[in-house]
Protein backbone atom coordinates (compact mmCIF):
# COMPACT_ATOMS: atom_id res chain seq x y z
CA UNK A 1 0.00 0.00 0.00
CA UNK A 2 2.85 2.32 0.92
CA UNK A 3 4.49 1.64 -2.45
CA UNK A 4 1.33 2.32 -4.38
CA UNK A 5 0.87 5.58 -2.50
CA UNK A 6 4.43 6.56 -3.32
CA UNK A 7 3.99 5.76 -6.99
CA UNK A 8 0.74 7.74 -7.09
CA UNK A 9 2.46 10.67 -5.39
CA UNK A 10 5.26 10.37 -7.94
CA UNK A 11 2.73 10.41 -10.75
CA UNK A 12 1.08 13.57 -9.47
CA UNK A 13 4.45 15.28 -9.13
CA UNK A 14 5.47 14.15 -12.64
CA UNK A 15 2.34 15.51 -14.22
CA UNK A 16 2.64 18.80 -12.37
CA UNK A 17 6.25 19.05 -13.47
CA UNK A 18 5.34 19.08 -17.15
CA UNK A 19 4.26 22.26 -18.87
CA UNK A 20 1.81 22.10 -21.76
CA UNK A 21 2.50 24.68 -24.44
CA UNK A 22 -0.36 26.50 -26.09
CA UNK A 23 -0.91 25.59 -29.71
CA UNK A 24 0.53 28.38 -31.87
CA UNK A 25 -1.99 30.36 -33.88
CA UNK A 26 -1.28 30.22 -37.60
CA UNK A 27 -2.52 33.45 -39.15
CA UNK A 28 -3.60 33.31 -42.80
CA UNK A 29 -1.38 34.91 -45.41
CA UNK A 30 -3.34 37.78 -46.93
CA UNK A 31 -2.45 39.47 -50.21
CA UNK A 32 -3.08 43.09 -49.23
CA UNK A 33 -0.98 44.57 -52.03
CA UNK A 34 -3.17 43.36 -54.89
CA UNK A 35 -6.26 44.97 -53.35
CA UNK A 36 -4.50 48.14 -52.22
CA UNK A 37 -2.88 48.66 -55.63
CA UNK A 38 -6.25 48.39 -57.40
CA UNK A 39 -8.28 50.60 -55.05
CA UNK A 40 -8.26 54.19 -53.84
CA UNK A 41 -7.77 54.76 -50.11
CA UNK A 42 -10.85 56.01 -48.29
CA UNK A 43 -10.84 59.60 -47.12
CA UNK A 44 -11.21 60.40 -43.43
CA UNK A 45 -14.83 61.38 -44.11
CA UNK A 46 -15.55 58.09 -45.87
CA UNK A 47 -14.00 56.17 -42.98
CA UNK A 48 -16.14 58.09 -40.49
CA UNK A 49 -19.16 57.31 -42.68
CA UNK A 50 -18.38 53.60 -42.44
CA UNK A 51 -17.81 53.59 -38.66
CA UNK A 52 -20.85 52.33 -36.82
CA UNK A 53 -22.94 49.60 -35.33
CA UNK A 54 -23.80 46.91 -37.83
CA UNK A 55 -26.30 44.09 -37.59
CA UNK A 56 -25.18 40.70 -38.82
CA UNK A 57 -27.60 39.60 -41.52
CA UNK A 58 -25.51 36.52 -42.21
CA UNK A 59 -22.77 35.09 -39.97
CA UNK A 60 -24.49 35.66 -36.64
CA UNK A 61 -23.98 32.06 -35.55
CA UNK A 62 -20.26 32.82 -35.26
CA UNK A 63 -20.19 36.53 -34.45
CA UNK A 64 -23.57 37.36 -32.87
CA UNK A 65 -26.28 39.83 -33.85
CA UNK A 66 -24.47 43.15 -33.55
CA UNK A 67 -20.87 44.23 -34.17
CA UNK A 68 -18.89 47.47 -34.12
CA UNK A 69 -16.97 48.67 -37.20
CA UNK A 70 -14.25 51.24 -36.67
CA UNK A 71 -11.46 52.59 -38.85
CA UNK A 72 -8.05 53.30 -37.36
CA UNK A 73 -5.40 54.63 -39.71
CA UNK A 74 -5.20 52.51 -42.86
CA UNK A 75 -7.08 49.53 -41.46
CA UNK A 76 -10.67 48.83 -40.59
CA UNK A 77 -11.52 46.73 -37.55
CA UNK A 78 -14.66 44.87 -36.66
CA UNK A 79 -15.26 43.93 -33.02
CA UNK A 80 -17.64 41.20 -31.95
CA UNK A 81 -18.91 40.23 -28.50
CA UNK A 82 -19.75 36.67 -29.48
CA UNK A 83 -16.51 34.74 -30.06
CA UNK A 84 -14.64 37.91 -28.87
CA UNK A 85 -13.20 38.45 -32.33
CA UNK A 86 -11.52 41.25 -34.19
CA UNK A 87 -11.22 41.71 -37.94
CA UNK A 88 -8.24 43.45 -39.51
CA UNK A 89 -9.02 44.45 -43.11
CA UNK A 90 -7.49 46.85 -45.61
CA UNK A 91 -8.63 48.07 -48.99
CA UNK A 92 -10.42 51.00 -50.60
CA UNK A 93 -12.82 52.33 -53.22
CA UNK A 94 -13.22 51.13 -56.79
CA UNK A 95 -15.28 53.88 -58.44
CA UNK A 96 -18.62 53.46 -56.62
CA UNK A 97 -17.95 50.20 -54.85
CA UNK A 98 -15.40 49.11 -52.25
CA UNK A 99 -13.20 46.08 -51.68
CA UNK A 100 -11.41 44.90 -48.52
CA UNK A 101 -9.32 41.87 -47.55
CA UNK A 102 -7.80 40.75 -44.27
CA UNK A 103 -8.23 38.26 -41.47
CA UNK A 104 -10.27 37.66 -38.34
CA UNK A 105 -9.20 36.18 -35.03
CA UNK A 106 -11.07 34.99 -31.96
CA UNK A 107 -8.75 36.32 -29.25
CA UNK A 108 -9.80 33.85 -26.54
CA UNK A 109 -9.05 30.83 -28.74
CA UNK A 110 -6.93 29.79 -31.70
CA UNK A 111 -9.58 30.38 -34.39
CA UNK A 112 -8.64 32.60 -37.28
CA UNK A 113 -9.35 32.86 -41.01
CA UNK A 114 -9.32 35.03 -44.10
CA UNK A 115 -11.84 37.79 -44.73
CA UNK A 116 -12.98 39.21 -48.05
CA UNK A 117 -15.55 42.02 -47.96
CA UNK A 118 -17.03 44.48 -50.41
CA UNK A 119 -19.64 47.20 -50.74
CA UNK A 120 -21.78 47.17 -53.86
CA UNK A 121 -22.76 50.44 -55.51
CA UNK A 122 -26.43 49.61 -54.87
CA UNK A 123 -25.81 48.85 -51.20
CA UNK A 124 -24.28 52.12 -50.11
CA UNK A 125 -21.14 52.18 -52.30
CA UNK A 126 -22.45 55.03 -54.45
CA UNK A 127 -23.28 57.21 -51.42
CA UNK A 128 -19.91 56.35 -49.88
CA UNK A 129 -18.09 57.34 -53.10
CA UNK A 130 -19.98 60.63 -53.20
CA UNK A 131 -19.58 61.23 -49.46
CA UNK A 132 -23.33 61.57 -49.01
CA UNK A 133 -25.32 60.55 -45.96
CA UNK A 134 -24.30 59.09 -42.64
CA UNK A 135 -23.69 55.56 -43.90
CA UNK A 136 -26.81 54.05 -42.32
CA UNK A 137 -27.97 51.18 -44.56
CA UNK A 138 -24.49 50.61 -45.97
CA UNK A 139 -23.92 46.88 -46.42
CA UNK A 140 -20.64 44.97 -46.17
CA UNK A 141 -20.95 41.68 -48.00
CA UNK A 142 -18.37 38.94 -48.41
CA UNK A 143 -16.93 35.71 -47.09
CA UNK A 144 -14.75 34.39 -44.30
CA UNK A 145 -12.86 31.16 -43.96
CA UNK A 146 -12.98 29.26 -40.68
CA UNK A 147 -10.99 26.37 -39.26
CA UNK A 148 -12.81 23.10 -39.84
CA UNK A 149 -14.94 24.52 -42.63
CA UNK A 150 -14.16 23.28 -46.13
CA UNK A 151 -15.62 26.30 -47.92
CA UNK A 152 -15.93 30.00 -47.09
CA UNK A 153 -18.95 31.19 -45.11
CA UNK A 154 -21.03 34.15 -46.17
CA UNK A 155 -20.94 37.32 -44.10
CA UNK A 156 -23.38 40.22 -44.51
CA UNK A 157 -23.32 43.26 -42.21
CA UNK A 158 -25.63 46.27 -42.43
CA UNK A 159 -25.01 49.58 -40.68
CA UNK A 160 -27.87 50.63 -38.42
CA UNK A 161 -26.43 53.55 -36.44
CA UNK A 162 -23.33 55.42 -35.34
CA UNK A 163 -21.01 54.02 -32.68
CA UNK A 164 -22.10 54.69 -29.11
CA UNK A 165 -19.99 57.17 -27.21
CA UNK A 166 -19.83 58.91 -23.86
CA UNK A 167 -20.02 62.61 -23.16
CA UNK A 168 -16.98 62.63 -20.89
CA UNK A 169 -15.10 60.34 -23.28
CA UNK A 170 -13.94 56.84 -22.51
CA UNK A 171 -10.60 55.04 -22.69
CA UNK A 172 -10.34 51.38 -23.71
CA UNK A 173 -7.00 50.59 -22.09
CA UNK A 174 -5.11 47.55 -23.39
CA UNK A 175 -3.33 45.81 -20.51
CA UNK A 176 0.41 45.02 -21.05
CA UNK A 177 0.42 47.08 -24.23
CA UNK A 178 -2.76 45.49 -25.62
CA UNK A 179 -2.83 41.82 -24.64
CA UNK A 180 -1.02 38.94 -23.01
CA UNK A 181 1.39 36.40 -24.45
CA UNK A 182 -1.17 33.67 -23.71
CA UNK A 183 -3.52 35.31 -26.23
CA UNK A 184 -1.09 34.42 -29.04
CA UNK A 185 -1.47 37.68 -30.92
CA UNK A 186 1.82 37.12 -32.75
CA UNK A 187 3.28 40.11 -30.90
CA UNK A 188 4.70 39.90 -27.40
CA UNK A 189 3.10 41.66 -24.45
CA UNK A 190 4.72 45.01 -23.69
CA UNK A 191 6.48 45.04 -27.07
CA UNK A 192 6.52 48.10 -29.30
CA UNK A 193 4.94 45.96 -32.03
CA UNK A 194 1.92 45.20 -29.82
CA UNK A 195 1.53 48.82 -28.71
CA UNK A 196 1.39 49.89 -32.35
CA UNK A 197 -1.21 47.18 -33.05
CA UNK A 198 -3.30 47.85 -29.92
CA UNK A 199 -5.66 50.26 -31.64
CA UNK A 200 -6.56 47.55 -34.19
CA UNK A 201 -7.53 45.37 -31.25
CA UNK A 202 -9.88 48.11 -30.08
CA UNK A 203 -7.69 49.96 -27.58
CA UNK A 204 -7.59 53.74 -27.38
CA UNK A 205 -4.96 53.60 -24.64
CA UNK A 206 -2.24 51.25 -23.38
CA UNK A 207 -1.09 50.24 -19.94
CA UNK A 208 2.58 49.25 -19.94
CA UNK A 209 4.81 48.00 -17.13
CA UNK A 210 8.11 49.63 -16.25
CA UNK A 211 11.10 48.08 -14.49
CA UNK A 212 14.67 49.28 -14.18
CA UNK A 213 17.83 47.51 -15.32
CA UNK A 214 20.94 47.20 -13.13
CA UNK A 215 22.32 50.33 -14.81
CA UNK A 216 19.13 52.30 -14.09
CA UNK A 217 17.47 52.28 -17.52
CA UNK A 218 13.64 52.04 -17.41
CA UNK A 219 12.50 49.21 -19.68
CA UNK A 220 9.02 47.98 -20.58
CA UNK A 221 8.50 44.53 -19.09
CA UNK A 222 5.75 42.95 -17.02
CA UNK A 223 7.44 40.55 -14.61
CA UNK A 224 10.17 41.23 -12.06
CA UNK A 225 12.06 38.18 -13.37
CA UNK A 226 12.97 36.67 -16.71
CA UNK A 227 11.01 33.48 -17.38
CA UNK A 228 10.23 31.41 -20.49
CA UNK A 229 6.73 32.94 -20.39
CA UNK A 230 8.15 36.31 -21.36
CA UNK A 231 11.55 35.83 -23.02
CA UNK A 232 13.65 33.63 -25.28
CA UNK A 233 17.20 33.00 -24.14
CA UNK A 234 18.62 30.53 -21.65
CA UNK A 235 21.19 32.55 -19.74
CA UNK A 236 19.47 35.48 -18.06
CA UNK A 237 17.92 34.02 -14.93
CA UNK A 238 16.18 35.74 -12.06
CA UNK A 239 15.52 39.43 -11.54
CA UNK A 240 15.59 41.86 -14.45
CA UNK A 241 17.38 44.28 -12.11
CA UNK A 242 20.38 41.90 -12.08
CA UNK A 243 21.25 42.77 -15.67
CA UNK A 244 22.42 45.80 -17.59
CA UNK A 245 20.60 46.98 -20.69
CA UNK A 246 23.57 45.81 -22.80
CA UNK A 247 23.33 42.30 -21.40
CA UNK A 248 19.57 42.22 -21.96
CA UNK A 249 20.01 43.46 -25.53
CA UNK A 250 22.73 40.90 -26.12
CA UNK A 251 21.24 37.77 -24.64
CA UNK A 252 17.41 37.79 -24.66
CA UNK A 253 14.47 38.56 -26.92
CA UNK A 254 10.77 38.73 -26.09
CA UNK A 255 8.84 35.51 -26.79
CA UNK A 256 7.92 36.49 -30.33
CA UNK A 257 11.47 37.59 -31.13
CA UNK A 258 11.17 41.33 -30.50
CA UNK A 259 13.81 43.42 -28.75
CA UNK A 260 12.91 44.25 -25.16
CA UNK A 261 12.17 48.00 -25.44
CA UNK A 262 13.39 50.79 -23.25
CA UNK A 263 10.62 53.05 -21.99
CA UNK A 264 11.88 55.96 -24.06
CA UNK A 265 12.00 53.93 -27.29
CA UNK A 266 8.49 52.60 -26.70
CA UNK A 267 6.96 56.01 -25.96
CA UNK A 268 8.65 57.68 -28.92
CA UNK A 269 7.36 54.96 -31.27
CA UNK A 270 3.82 55.25 -29.91
CA UNK A 271 3.92 59.02 -30.33
CA UNK A 272 5.26 58.78 -33.88
CA UNK A 273 3.41 55.77 -35.27
CA UNK A 274 0.14 55.13 -33.44
CA UNK A 275 -3.20 56.77 -32.72
CA UNK A 276 -3.13 55.79 -29.05
CA UNK A 277 -4.40 58.72 -26.91
CA UNK A 278 -3.24 57.71 -23.45
CA UNK A 279 -0.38 55.68 -22.01
CA UNK A 280 -0.55 54.44 -18.42
CA UNK A 281 2.91 53.71 -17.05
CA UNK A 282 2.53 50.99 -14.42
CA UNK A 283 5.76 51.77 -12.56
CA UNK A 284 7.15 48.85 -10.61
CA UNK A 285 10.65 49.93 -9.66
CA UNK A 286 11.08 52.85 -7.26
CA UNK A 287 14.82 53.16 -8.16
CA UNK A 288 14.03 54.64 -11.57
CA UNK A 289 11.21 57.09 -10.74
CA UNK A 290 13.32 60.18 -11.49
CA UNK A 291 14.49 58.74 -14.80
CA UNK A 292 10.91 57.87 -15.80
CA UNK A 293 9.79 61.43 -15.08
CA UNK A 294 12.73 62.78 -17.11
CA UNK A 295 11.76 60.51 -20.01
CA UNK A 296 8.18 61.75 -19.72
CA UNK A 297 9.38 65.32 -20.23
CA UNK A 298 11.50 64.41 -23.26
CA UNK A 299 8.69 62.43 -24.89
CA UNK A 300 6.12 65.17 -24.30
CA UNK A 301 8.50 67.72 -25.83
CA UNK A 302 8.87 65.41 -28.82
CA UNK A 303 5.07 65.00 -29.07
CA UNK A 304 4.61 68.77 -28.93
CA UNK A 305 7.12 69.22 -31.75
CA UNK A 306 5.05 66.77 -33.83
CA UNK A 307 1.76 68.45 -32.78
CA UNK A 308 0.67 65.08 -31.41
CA UNK A 309 -1.85 65.05 -28.57
CA UNK A 310 -1.13 62.28 -26.11
CA UNK A 311 -1.41 61.87 -22.34
CA UNK A 312 1.26 59.84 -20.57
CA UNK A 313 0.21 59.02 -17.01
CA UNK A 314 2.79 58.30 -14.34
CA UNK A 315 1.29 55.34 -12.47
CA UNK A 316 1.50 54.96 -8.71
CA UNK A 317 0.48 51.39 -7.88
CA UNK A 318 2.30 50.96 -4.54
CA UNK A 319 3.38 52.97 -1.52
CA UNK A 320 7.05 52.48 -2.54
CA UNK A 321 6.44 54.22 -5.84
CA UNK A 322 4.29 56.84 -4.06
CA UNK A 323 7.09 57.64 -1.59
CA UNK A 324 9.69 57.81 -4.37
CA UNK A 325 7.44 60.10 -6.42
CA UNK A 326 6.71 62.44 -3.50
CA UNK A 327 10.47 62.79 -2.87
CA UNK A 328 11.37 63.27 -6.53
CA UNK A 329 12.65 66.68 -7.63
CA UNK A 330 10.58 66.15 -10.80
CA UNK A 331 7.33 65.66 -8.86
CA UNK A 332 4.46 67.48 -10.54
CA UNK A 333 5.95 67.41 -14.03
CA UNK A 334 3.76 64.53 -15.25
CA UNK A 335 0.06 63.76 -14.81
CA UNK A 336 -0.31 61.06 -12.19
CA UNK A 337 -2.54 57.99 -12.10
CA UNK A 338 -2.85 56.78 -8.52
CA UNK A 339 -4.17 53.34 -7.58
CA UNK A 340 -3.99 54.01 -3.82
CA UNK A 341 -6.57 55.50 -1.42
CA UNK A 342 -8.31 58.84 -1.91
CA UNK A 343 -5.95 60.66 0.46
CA UNK A 344 -2.94 59.59 -1.63
CA UNK A 345 -4.78 60.57 -4.82
CA UNK A 346 -5.29 64.09 -3.45
CA UNK A 347 -1.82 64.36 -1.90
CA UNK A 348 -0.18 63.43 -5.20
CA UNK A 349 -2.66 65.65 -7.08
CA UNK A 350 -3.38 62.72 -9.38
CA UNK A 351 -5.22 63.37 -12.63
CA UNK A 352 -6.63 59.86 -12.53
CA UNK A 353 -7.76 57.57 -9.75
CA UNK A 354 -7.60 53.87 -10.70
CA UNK A 355 -9.40 51.52 -8.31
CA UNK A 356 -9.63 47.78 -8.92
CA UNK A 357 -13.03 46.54 -10.10
CA UNK A 358 -13.41 44.21 -7.13
CA UNK A 359 -13.97 47.32 -4.96
CA UNK A 360 -17.31 47.77 -6.74
CA UNK A 361 -18.95 50.72 -8.49
CA UNK A 362 -18.13 53.23 -5.68
CA UNK A 363 -20.49 55.71 -7.32
CA UNK A 364 -20.22 58.36 -4.57
CA UNK A 365 -16.41 58.37 -4.63
CA UNK A 366 -16.35 58.39 -8.43
CA UNK A 367 -18.73 61.38 -8.47
CA UNK A 368 -16.53 63.18 -5.93
CA UNK A 369 -13.42 62.48 -8.05
CA UNK A 370 -15.19 63.88 -11.09
CA UNK A 371 -16.11 67.01 -9.10
CA UNK A 372 -12.43 67.42 -8.24
CA UNK A 373 -11.59 67.25 -11.94
CA UNK A 374 -10.10 63.75 -11.88
CA UNK A 375 -10.85 60.86 -14.20
CA UNK A 376 -11.50 57.36 -12.86
CA UNK A 377 -10.20 54.25 -14.63
CA UNK A 378 -11.11 50.80 -13.37
CA UNK A 379 -8.97 47.65 -13.74
CA UNK A 380 -8.82 44.86 -14.90
CA UNK A 381 -12.14 44.22 -16.64
CA UNK A 382 -12.26 41.00 -18.65
CA UNK A 383 -15.65 39.51 -17.86
CA UNK A 384 -18.47 40.61 -20.21
CA UNK A 385 -21.02 40.57 -17.37
CA UNK A 386 -18.95 42.88 -15.16
CA UNK A 387 -18.05 45.11 -18.11
CA UNK A 388 -21.72 45.60 -19.02
CA UNK A 389 -22.70 46.28 -15.42
CA UNK A 390 -19.88 48.77 -14.85
CA UNK A 391 -20.59 50.47 -18.20
CA UNK A 392 -24.30 50.91 -17.55
CA UNK A 393 -24.46 51.37 -13.77
CA UNK A 394 -21.08 53.01 -13.17
CA UNK A 395 -19.63 56.30 -14.37
CA UNK A 396 -16.04 55.37 -15.13
CA UNK A 397 -13.85 57.14 -17.68
CA UNK A 398 -12.01 54.06 -18.82
CA UNK A 399 -11.38 50.39 -18.18
CA UNK A 400 -8.11 48.54 -18.34
CA UNK A 401 -8.64 45.13 -19.94
CA UNK A 402 -6.78 42.15 -21.32
CA UNK A 403 -9.41 42.02 -24.08
CA UNK A 404 -9.75 45.47 -25.66
CA UNK A 405 -11.64 43.74 -28.49
CA UNK A 406 -14.37 42.62 -26.09
CA UNK A 407 -14.55 45.96 -24.32
CA UNK A 408 -14.67 47.85 -27.66
CA UNK A 409 -17.48 45.61 -28.93
CA UNK A 410 -19.49 46.09 -25.73
CA UNK A 411 -18.78 49.81 -25.38
CA UNK A 412 -19.47 50.85 -28.97
CA UNK A 413 -22.65 48.78 -29.31
CA UNK A 414 -24.25 49.66 -25.95
CA UNK A 415 -27.45 51.69 -25.95
CA UNK A 416 -27.77 52.93 -22.38
CA UNK A 417 -24.43 54.55 -21.56
CA UNK A 418 -24.36 57.48 -19.16
Amino acid sequence: MKNITLVLAALVLCLNGCVSELTPVVYPTVDYETVISTTTPLTLEQRAQMNGIYIMQEGRSTFGDTVAVRWDGEAMSIYTVKSVSFFYVRGGMRTDSARFVGYWRAVQGPETGEVSLGILASEGGKELAEGKGNGVGLTLRGTITSPGSSRPNTLVLKKIKALANRTRGFEIIGHRGGGRNSDRLGKSENSIELMLFASQLGATACEIDVYGTSDGVPVVFHDPTFTPRTVQGAYLLGDISNYSLRQIRGFVRLVNGEQLPTLEEALMEVVDKSTIRTIWLDNKDSRVVDEILAIHQRVMDHAASKKRTIRILFGIPTTEIYDAYMKSPLKGTAPVLCELDQASVRASNAAVWAPRFTDGLQSDVVAQMHKEGRDVYCWTMDDPGFILRFLTEGDFDGFCTNYPTLLAALFYTRKDLK
Partner: protein, 205 residues
Amino acid sequence: MKCMLLVLAFCASVPCVLKAADSTVVAPPVVQKTAIEISVAGGPQRTFFREPTTPLTDERQFSGMSVMGKLMWHPDHILSVGLLSGYTTFSTESFTKDDIPVLNEPFTLTLEAVPLQLALSMQSGGFEVGVGLGGYLLSSTITGGDAVRQANTIFEIGISTQVSYLFFIGETFSVGPEVNIHLLSNRGIVAISPCLRAKWEFVRY
Protein backbone atom coordinates in the same frame (compact mmCIF):
# COMPACT_ATOMS: atom_id res chain seq x y z
CA MET B 1 5.53 13.76 -22.54
CA LYS B 2 2.72 13.28 -20.05
CA CYS B 3 1.82 10.00 -21.76
CA MET B 4 5.42 8.81 -21.44
CA LEU B 5 5.39 9.62 -17.73
CA LEU B 6 2.06 7.91 -17.25
CA VAL B 7 3.40 4.76 -18.92
CA LEU B 8 6.58 4.94 -16.84
CA ALA B 9 4.66 5.37 -13.60
CA PHE B 10 2.24 2.60 -14.55
CA CYS B 11 5.06 0.20 -15.39
CA ALA B 12 6.75 1.09 -12.14
CA SER B 13 3.60 0.47 -10.13
CA VAL B 14 2.74 -2.95 -11.61
CA PRO B 15 5.45 -4.93 -9.81
CA CYS B 16 4.42 -3.27 -6.51
CA VAL B 17 0.81 -4.27 -6.95
CA LEU B 18 1.76 -7.80 -8.01
CA LYS B 19 4.12 -8.20 -5.10
CA ALA B 20 1.53 -6.89 -2.67
CA ALA B 21 -1.07 -9.28 -4.09
CA ASP B 22 1.34 -12.23 -3.97
CA SER B 23 2.23 -11.61 -0.37
CA THR B 24 -1.41 -11.88 0.68
CA VAL B 25 -1.75 -15.28 -0.98
CA VAL B 26 1.50 -16.95 -0.05
CA ALA B 27 3.56 -16.32 3.04
CA PRO B 28 7.11 -17.08 1.93
CA PRO B 29 9.87 -17.51 4.46
CA VAL B 30 11.03 -13.98 5.13
CA VAL B 31 14.71 -13.13 5.24
CA GLN B 32 14.66 -9.49 6.26
CA LYS B 33 17.13 -7.44 4.18
CA THR B 34 17.00 -3.69 4.30
CA ALA B 35 19.89 -1.74 2.87
CA ILE B 36 21.08 1.81 2.59
CA GLU B 37 22.82 2.35 -0.72
CA ILE B 38 24.89 5.05 -2.23
CA SER B 39 25.50 5.28 -5.94
CA VAL B 40 27.42 7.59 -8.22
CA ALA B 41 27.01 7.90 -11.99
CA GLY B 42 29.01 10.08 -14.32
CA GLY B 43 29.55 10.56 -18.01
CA PRO B 44 29.22 12.81 -21.04
CA GLN B 45 25.93 14.54 -21.74
CA ARG B 46 24.08 15.93 -24.75
CA THR B 47 21.59 18.72 -24.03
CA PHE B 48 18.76 19.80 -26.29
CA PHE B 49 17.02 23.18 -25.95
CA ARG B 50 13.56 23.88 -27.38
CA GLU B 51 14.67 27.33 -28.51
CA PRO B 52 18.04 28.89 -29.33
CA THR B 53 19.89 29.76 -26.15
CA THR B 54 20.76 33.27 -27.33
CA PRO B 55 19.53 35.55 -30.12
CA LEU B 56 23.08 35.48 -31.51
CA THR B 57 22.99 31.96 -32.97
CA ASP B 58 20.52 29.20 -33.77
CA GLU B 59 22.41 26.77 -31.52
CA ARG B 60 20.13 24.38 -29.61
CA GLN B 61 22.36 21.39 -28.81
CA PHE B 62 25.37 21.27 -26.53
CA SER B 63 27.76 18.69 -25.13
CA GLY B 64 28.66 18.71 -21.47
CA MET B 65 29.06 16.34 -18.55
CA SER B 66 26.94 15.02 -15.75
CA VAL B 67 27.71 13.55 -12.32
CA MET B 68 24.79 12.27 -10.25
CA GLY B 69 24.69 10.78 -6.78
CA LYS B 70 21.86 8.93 -5.06
CA LEU B 71 21.42 7.95 -1.42
CA MET B 72 18.69 5.31 -1.26
CA TRP B 73 16.84 3.41 1.46
CA HIS B 74 16.09 -0.01 0.06
CA PRO B 75 13.73 -2.03 2.24
CA ASP B 76 12.82 -5.60 1.49
CA HIS B 77 10.78 -4.49 -1.49
CA ILE B 78 11.29 -3.93 -5.16
CA LEU B 79 11.01 -0.17 -4.57
CA SER B 80 13.67 1.99 -2.99
CA VAL B 81 13.39 5.63 -1.97
CA GLY B 82 16.00 8.30 -1.43
CA LEU B 83 17.55 11.55 -2.52
CA LEU B 84 19.24 12.48 -5.76
CA SER B 85 21.65 15.30 -6.41
CA GLY B 86 24.73 16.04 -8.46
CA TYR B 87 26.04 18.49 -10.98
CA THR B 88 25.49 18.90 -14.69
CA THR B 89 26.55 21.37 -17.36
CA PHE B 90 23.76 22.03 -19.84
CA SER B 91 25.61 24.48 -22.08
CA THR B 92 28.70 26.62 -22.44
CA GLU B 93 29.14 29.20 -25.19
CA SER B 94 31.84 31.73 -25.94
CA PHE B 95 31.41 34.79 -28.10
CA THR B 96 33.96 37.21 -29.44
CA LYS B 97 33.29 40.92 -29.45
CA ASP B 98 32.52 40.69 -33.19
CA ASP B 99 29.70 38.24 -32.45
CA ILE B 100 27.89 40.69 -30.18
CA PRO B 101 28.01 44.20 -31.66
CA VAL B 102 25.74 45.58 -28.93
CA LEU B 103 28.19 44.44 -26.25
CA ASN B 104 31.47 44.88 -28.13
CA GLU B 105 33.28 42.60 -25.70
CA PRO B 106 34.02 38.85 -25.52
CA PHE B 107 31.66 36.83 -23.33
CA THR B 108 31.41 33.29 -22.02
CA LEU B 109 28.02 32.01 -20.95
CA THR B 110 27.45 28.84 -18.94
CA LEU B 111 24.28 27.12 -17.76
CA GLU B 112 24.71 24.54 -15.01
CA ALA B 113 22.31 22.70 -12.74
CA VAL B 114 22.26 20.90 -9.42
CA PRO B 115 19.29 18.53 -9.14
CA LEU B 116 17.54 18.35 -5.79
CA GLN B 117 15.12 15.50 -6.12
CA LEU B 118 13.23 12.78 -4.36
CA ALA B 119 14.41 9.54 -5.99
CA LEU B 120 12.32 6.44 -6.48
CA SER B 121 13.67 3.34 -8.13
CA MET B 122 12.63 -0.22 -8.88
CA GLN B 123 15.02 -3.13 -9.15
CA SER B 124 14.55 -6.47 -10.79
CA GLY B 125 17.56 -8.69 -11.33
CA GLY B 126 20.33 -6.40 -12.49
CA PHE B 127 17.94 -3.89 -14.01
CA GLU B 128 17.04 -0.71 -12.23
CA VAL B 129 14.65 2.02 -13.32
CA GLY B 130 14.50 5.24 -11.37
CA VAL B 131 12.79 8.60 -11.41
CA GLY B 132 13.83 11.82 -9.69
CA LEU B 133 11.08 14.27 -8.76
CA GLY B 134 11.60 17.83 -7.63
CA GLY B 135 13.71 20.35 -9.37
CA TYR B 136 17.04 21.88 -10.20
CA LEU B 137 19.06 24.76 -8.90
CA LEU B 138 19.71 26.32 -12.28
CA SER B 139 22.70 28.62 -12.42
CA SER B 140 23.91 30.86 -15.21
CA THR B 141 27.31 32.47 -15.29
CA ILE B 142 28.22 35.37 -17.53
CA THR B 143 31.93 36.01 -17.74
CA GLY B 144 33.15 39.20 -19.38
CA GLY B 145 31.77 42.65 -20.07
CA ASP B 146 30.25 44.87 -17.38
CA ALA B 147 30.08 42.25 -14.68
CA VAL B 148 33.42 40.45 -15.24
CA ARG B 149 31.84 37.37 -13.67
CA GLN B 150 28.17 37.34 -12.80
CA ALA B 151 26.27 34.31 -11.52
CA ASN B 152 22.54 34.01 -10.96
CA THR B 153 20.68 31.01 -9.59
CA ILE B 154 17.01 30.08 -9.58
CA PHE B 155 15.03 26.98 -8.63
CA GLU B 156 13.28 25.32 -11.56
CA ILE B 157 10.91 22.37 -11.37
CA GLY B 158 11.99 19.28 -13.30
CA ILE B 159 12.31 15.53 -13.30
CA SER B 160 14.95 12.97 -14.18
CA THR B 161 14.87 9.31 -15.08
CA GLN B 162 17.58 6.70 -14.87
CA VAL B 163 17.79 3.24 -16.44
CA SER B 164 20.72 1.02 -15.55
CA TYR B 165 21.98 -2.56 -15.53
CA LEU B 166 24.34 -3.42 -12.71
CA PHE B 167 26.80 -6.30 -12.35
CA PHE B 168 27.63 -7.36 -8.79
CA ILE B 169 31.30 -7.28 -7.88
CA GLY B 170 31.38 -8.80 -4.46
CA GLU B 171 28.38 -8.89 -2.10
CA THR B 172 27.72 -5.16 -1.66
CA PHE B 173 29.28 -3.47 -4.64
CA SER B 174 27.90 -3.35 -8.17
CA VAL B 175 28.75 -1.42 -11.30
CA GLY B 176 27.26 -1.02 -14.77
CA PRO B 177 26.02 1.28 -17.52
CA GLU B 178 23.27 3.82 -16.98
CA VAL B 179 21.31 6.26 -19.11
CA ASN B 180 20.30 9.44 -17.33
CA ILE B 181 17.66 11.83 -18.69
CA HIS B 182 16.93 15.29 -17.28
CA LEU B 183 13.77 17.13 -18.21
CA LEU B 184 13.07 20.78 -17.36
CA SER B 185 9.87 21.18 -19.34
CA ASN B 186 9.22 24.79 -18.31
CA ARG B 187 12.63 25.79 -19.68
CA GLY B 188 12.42 23.49 -22.70
CA ILE B 189 15.57 21.57 -21.74
CA VAL B 190 16.18 17.85 -22.20
CA ALA B 191 19.57 16.28 -21.44
CA ILE B 192 20.65 12.70 -22.06
CA SER B 193 23.71 11.23 -20.45
CA PRO B 194 25.12 7.73 -21.06
CA CYS B 195 27.26 7.09 -18.02
CA LEU B 196 28.93 4.57 -15.77
CA ARG B 197 27.31 3.86 -12.42
CA ALA B 198 28.73 2.35 -9.27
CA LYS B 199 26.53 1.31 -6.31
CA TRP B 200 27.55 0.38 -2.79
CA GLU B 201 25.24 -1.06 -0.12
CA PHE B 202 27.08 0.35 2.83
CA VAL B 203 24.52 -0.51 5.53
CA ARG B 204 22.46 -3.68 5.81
CA TYR B 205 20.10 -4.65 8.58
